[in-house]
């Protein structure tokens, strides 16, 4: 089953960055046929602009920006992996960039001016995960009501609509803070 071409997906972007902006690439990993690059948030705009504008790259289509929450990683590694993916239609490739930010400082520069489509994706990332994008013209919630409290996709946000207690799982009826952590179906 071919999901990508014969080469690793993202290799073109990775090679280009290692040639043109080697200081920006902090880490590079290849797995499952895909290359992932870790960049610093200070280099993010430059990296994306290069990927978009360089004639050998042409990564012009923003796919999404999201974050993965690893609350148990701190203080060894930052909590959030802010993940960007962009696609190059011309060279038929996708590129994945990860920017790591900590819990106390979840701030990343906005890519709204680089890709017009990042506007809404950044608002969604802020809404659901609490990552702040500086330079965004209007970073407000997009999917949840504007007066919502908290960021639901964070791992410490307990998401239960309604406790349904059967005889074998009476702990579901307990408030979120008191539920045991190893419940089937997750206590979070």
């Amino acid at each position: 089953m071919t999901a990508v071409g014969s080469s690793m997906s993202g290799a073109r972007a990775a090679d280009l960055l290692e040639r043109e902006l080697p200081a920006a690439v902090r880490r590079r990993e290849s797995a499952a046929g895909e290359v992932t690059l870790w960049v610093d948030r200070t280099d993010l705009v430059a990296v994306c602009t290069l990927l978009r504008d360089h004639p050998n790259a042409a990564y012009m289509t923003p796919l999404f920006v999201t974050a993965v929450d690893w609350p148990d990683r701190e203080p060894a590694e930052p909590r959030f992996d802010v993940v960007y993916m962009v696609r190059s239609l011309q060279y038929n490739d996708v590129c994945r960039l990860i920017v790591q930010v900590t819990e106390d400082d979840p701030i990343v520069p906005s890519l709204e001016l680089v890709f017009a489509g990042m506007d809404w994706h950044e608002r969604e990332c802020f809404d659901l995960l609490g990552i702040h994008f500086t330079g965004h013209h209007d970073l407000k919630r997009i999917l949840l009501p504007t007066d919502w409290d908290g960021h639901p996709l964070r791992k410490d946000y307990a998401s239960f609509g309604e406790p349904i207690a059967f005889t074998h799982n009476l702990e579901w009826a307990l408030p979120a803070a008191e539920r045991p952590r190893d419940m089937p179906g997750g206590s979070r």
């Binding site: 949840l144 009501p145 919502w148 639901p152 946000y157 998401s159 239960f160 609509g161 309604e162």
Partner: protein, 193 residues
Amino acid sequence: MGLNNELIVPRAGGRSILLADADAGTIALPRAGAAERTALQSGFVTTTIGKVIQWGRYSSLWPALFGLACCAIEMMATGASRYDMSRFGCEVFRASPRQSDLMIVAGRVSQKMAPVLRHIYDQMPEPKWVISMGACASSGGMFNNYAIVQGVDKVVPVDVYIPGCPPRPEGLLDAVMKLQKKIAGELPGSLLG
């Protein structure tokens, strides 16, 4: 017309008599003769005002378009040609709640949508009924989480619940028929015959 509210019953043999409802307070004509047939041909029926009004209400329920998610597609399929909901009077899906009397909540109601739902319900004139279509509208369905209201009856009063995810169009038709029975008064309270 069915539903036991017979106003006119054609008898075998082609002669018809006017049947009065026992508690309607009208006079039962003893025998169909020429005089009665003439009266019938000139278009007289007798019944109670209440029954006629109820008949009018349930036979022409106008649903307010409240399709939210997947159940809306099955609601549209019910209105399309195979399951034709207009047979039951629900031909006209009014976009404006002020011109409708039935709200079929078809789909999951998110927390952001709930105040809008209530607002639309309040804008509907009396008498109005609500059908909660599907598992998500009835109880939150498979989405027991932060984003979905666990049952639209937390927001508006519901007359008929339809299970299913999504319910088949026949399910929606059955719900409309049950609602019609309820409106006709044959189903006291929550007893479903």
